[in-house]
Symmetry: C2
Subunit: 633 residues, 2 copies
């Protein structure tokens, strides 16, 4: 131990340790980060007492080496002990990946990790974090997903799977992970298959009591918009670690799929079972009590936001040219609910076991045939308002295509909107949009441009208005009408990403306070606090939607902390939890600095500062020097 | 005057002035540049005494505003007085362009400037510098070209043309520049034309005693590999400001062509005519005496380098996979000379009046029909060895196509080699390469990918081995076998660019010293000195090839300095001239820093450090921390 203890708990202690990364010269920090230079290279360590260590020692890190095709289970190195989810993936990436390496080359790593509360019966705790250097942004990246994989890995005692090395050219493999049984085997028979067909083939071999992680054609082709699919409870590849092109990293490693067999797994050890049970109950009650998590999301899915954001004048329409879409009603959650009921689809479906929010559903076509899970709000927006399209059936089909090819719907909707601005198709042309997504799935040259993301579309077609930050496309909230989210887009360690600090909640829904969405004041502080809180939630493996009660109801927050304490035998305070989030952000930002990012990259594209957005006719006017204070903590 | 004088001359003084650029927050400098922070934002000013001022006042800056279609001749503002060429373009860009703006948006500017020795009868002094923020690299950019435009502008008393603002969509214009007569007029009739057809149409209107500057389809489409064509003495659009996509900036401004009519122009004023004449004579003698500028280049063109670089094991072959090409002899300068003589083409052609080197020629096909000027060495390499092609006729046709569409041959040859690595065509497929360049000229999706440059090809097709620095493709010298040029690629303010500091001269040709090309030692110092010297040569408007005698023969260097002193009535020393080059580099680097570039960007792609290059089996091993000292002056 080189540095002093930080948090003392009943059964253990959280330490701070210096990074073991020594592979590269550290660039001088920007002024704004000077004070954090030291902290940024320190990783959090929950150091457990001997009793807990014994139990924790059951947890392993799987090292999957694609160069020699070995799989080794190793004890969790001290510097990663007690980490989970995003904290784990970001620590491993920051520690082991040279920041300037090729993201699709031999020196990148792809990390999968369940959260700190994974493997318990805490509600909505089964998220899986996927991390690596992003082929899209060049930054560190964590994208997390629902589905069953996170919970299954935790039950198998796997703290992380680290995929490293580089395969022989044109070889594909699959990884089987069971209880103390790991196998890498050829998967060339899956070559060129979409995620749906991949899962069908794997089901025939491995049965239906497993979970699958896979890539479609986009990942095989190393497209920068490629996602990683995670199957839901019914083994549909509908949940995705979507953003930042991590599917391309998996493709570059030649890893087509992971099969997770939880059959001999068991629940994670818990230090104080009674206390955990009591806190978990309070947490569930909060989720069931808060109107967003018990009514809004449950009945209308995330698509409930269409009308809300349209009303707020922040629904980006036709490549961020307006904040209101005349066809909003036709693609809104209320309509989604209505036609789902009419067609006898499923309303209120949970993507993972233990979900009490159940924000998803099953979308059927007019003949009652399955099309896709309910498209998320951001997907409906990306292909709907942002492309001028008001046809929910077309949007659901495109959602299905994106899930099948393995593509981030946000990146792709933006890519096609930028292509529409270039005149490749007309805004509003739903059939044209379907043709374009088919081009991506066919790997045509036009498809390659689109699959490389919105920034490459802009470069290829000479388009000036390209809504990206750090090369990643903006999600479904215009930063001129909802300025808090603009701060998150600009400063997030991930590139433009709403989930990094969802200021929409406070700007628009008035959850956790009320900050005027149209004023620049207070947005940086709001985004900062949310980014810190989100890093915690992502590290615990909780679904981000728990943030609604956590931000609004003091006991929901306390229950969350109490569960961590009960599981690990700690006595963390709220401040300790905040410090955890801060440290995750700092190590991510440190990676990005070493990769060459500076405050000049923490900016929205020029046109958001110069073009007014109707109907509020606002520009994004949070001053640069305020943005540069975001990481002052 | 806010800062102390620097250089005192007979008739004037060179001042240092703080920048007038106040539009944007200055980012904190990297440590390595801390000491230069102040200097980097200071521009050089040759402040002339009253007599010379009166003469200099004849020189104007033309402000061409594409928003209101006005053209205004303004006196040279004090901070730009006495600058020329690259010094002028870089000062205006650094001073007036927000570093994080969209390069194809309203806030970028495109600057044309003749050099400080332009408009004189100094040999090879007619280069024209073109500057702006690069759509390819995002850095500041200066690309200079031969042809007649530079000399003509100087004779018209124009120190710079600054194209600014933004046109109405889909409108094209041409600019006429005569003696005190400037006119912007519609040019929609030129829309979609290549440079050859554009020039033919303009000749019909303006006659043959003018010079033309134009863009082809690539520039109109804002392709990041688009060049700006400058006509030679016979009004062929064969000379190009090639690198960095400045043709796309011209396209974004809606400016299809500039017509320069020198008919009422006159030679530039000279302070001490006798002294100038004497120095100019010594300078010519040196050019005529040095074997490279009087024999090698004259008889075989720049293509003489094929055999030399192949012999040195540094001729990048099949996308930088080998340093020797089995078909080198078939595309070498010796062969070019031979078939040119056989077909009765032209050997030894000068691209501008006053050229005594005459490194160009005229390439005819087998039927004796004009195909193109002699392709440069870098062009022959890009389409030849780098694509595995050994067919000079095909290469000359592609050269013609690139000149016509308006494309940088280095960027395009790399783009297609990367596409070949992706399997789009096979290495060695000359007909396939011709098909691909035709796709670019047709604006197909595949053509858009290629026209966006090698980095976008890599992103679109998921290729890991992409030879770019700051997104600009590497020229014709492998940095593993010629390590000095690798330092220049990595650190140049322009992205990978051999002309920024041509260490090949010293590494291979032993001009100006002898630094072992295979050893890392001494390369940083070599590149630093060459980058400084080149900034001077580019500022004076001299052809870079004068560097051979200037580096080898003390009197050639002295003659160059003497000409500047005689023209401006100064008494600059060698140290003063070095200081001028240093300051140009510093202001360029300062722009790049404000645009968000850091030392992490001053690196070669990973594979140059990990893959050995046959036949020497070397990697690029100049240490990062040595690279980071390059700007320590």
């Amino acid at each position: 131990m080189e540095t002093p203890l930080c948090f003392k708990g009943k059964m253990g202690t959280i330490y701070m340790m210096p990074s073991r990364y020594h592979g590269e010269k550290i660039l001088p920090c920007q002024n704004l980060l000077k004070s954090t230079k030291l902290y940024a290279r320190i990783f959090l360590l929950i150091h457990l007492n001997p009793t807990m260590r014994k139990e924790a020692a059951m947890f392993k890190i799987l090292r999957v080496n694609m160069s020699d095709l070995s799989v080794k289970a190793e004890d969790i190195p001290k510097e990663y002990e007690g980490l989970g989810g995003r904290g784990m993936t970001s620590a491993i990436v920051a520690n082991e990946v040279p920041p300037t390496c090729s993201a699709i080359g031999p020196n990148n790593k792809l990390v999968f990790a369940p959260g700190l509360l994974g493997g318990t019966n805490c509600a909505n705790s089964g998220r899986i974090s996927v991390g690596g250097k992003s082929p899209l942004t060049g930054t560190i990246k964590e994208a997390n997903s629902g589905g069953q994989a996170g919970q299954y890995l935790a039950k198998l005692g796997i703290a992380a799977i680290v995929v490293e090395g580089f395969p022989q050219e044109n070889r594909l493999y699959k990884l089987y992970v069971g209880k103390d049984k790991y196998e890498l085997s050829p998967a060339n028979d899956l070559k060129g298959l979409g995620n749906y067909a991949t899962v069908e083939k794997l089901k025939a071999q491995f049965g239906e009591k497993v979970g699958f992680v896979s890539i479609g054609q986009a990942g095989e082709w190393k497209m920068a918009a490629a996602s990683i699919a995670i199957t839901d409870r019914e083994l549909r590849p509908t949940r995705h670690a979507g953003r930042g092109g991590l599917g391309a990293v998996m493709g570059s490693k030649g890893l087509k799929a992971i099969v997770i067999d939880p059959s001999e797994g068991e629940m994670a050890p818990i230090s104080d079972k009674d206390a955990f049970k009591e806190a978990a109950k309070r947490f569930v009650n909060a989720l069931k009590e808060h109107p967003v998590t018990s009514q809004g999301l449950t009945n209308y899915g995330t698509d409930i936001l269409i009308n809300i954001i349209n009303e707020a004048g922040g629904l980006p329409t036709r490549n961020f040219s307006s904040g209101r879409f005349e066809g909003a009603e036709k693609v809104a959650g209320e309509t989604l609910n209505k036609i789902t009921q009419e067609r006898k689809g499923v309303v209120s479906h949970g993507c993972m076991a233990g979900c009490v929010i159940r924000c998803s559903g099953i979308f059927l076509d007019e003949n009652g045939e399955y099309v896709s899970k309910w498209p998320e709000y951001e997907t409906v927006w990306a292909w709907g308002p942002n492309c001028g399209i008001d046809d929910l059936d077309a949007i659901a089909r495109i959602d299905r295509a994106c899930d099948d090819y393995g593509l981030d719907t946000i990146e792709m909707g933006n890519a096609i909107a930028v292509a529409m601005e270039a005149g490749v198709k007309q805004f509003g042309d739903a059939a044209g949009a379907e043709e374009l997504i088919a081009e991506v799935g066919s790997g045509t040259p036009l498809g390659r441009i689109l699959g490389a993301g919105a920034a490459v579309v802009g470069k290829s077609f000479g388009v000036r208005r390209v809504p990206v930050v750090k090369n990643q496309a903006l999600p479904a909230y215009d930063p001129r009408a909802i300025k808090g989210i603009g701060v998150t887009y600009a400063t997030s360690t991930m590139g433009a990403d709403h989930t990094s600090g969802y200021a929409v909640a406070t700007n628009i829904m008035k959850v956790g306070g009320d900050v005027d969405p149209l004023k620049p004041e207070g947005q940086v502080e709001l985004s900062r606090n949310l980014q810190i809180a989100t890093a915690v939630i992502d590290t615990l493996g909780l679904c981000l939607f728990v943030a609604f009660p956590v931000m609004d109801m003091p006991d929901a927050f306390n229950a969350m902390v109490d569960m961590v304490n009960a599981k690990y035998g700690l006595s963390l305070t709220a401040d300790d939890v905040t410090a955890l989030g801060q440290r995750v952000l700092k190590l991510e930002r440190d990676f990005n600095q070493r990769a060459g990012f500076t405050p000049a990259d923490d900016r929205l594209p020029e046109f958001f500062k110069t073009e007014q957005l109707p109907p509020h006719n606002e520009v994004f006017d949070v001053p640069d020097d305020e943005l540069d204070t975001l990481f002052n903590f």
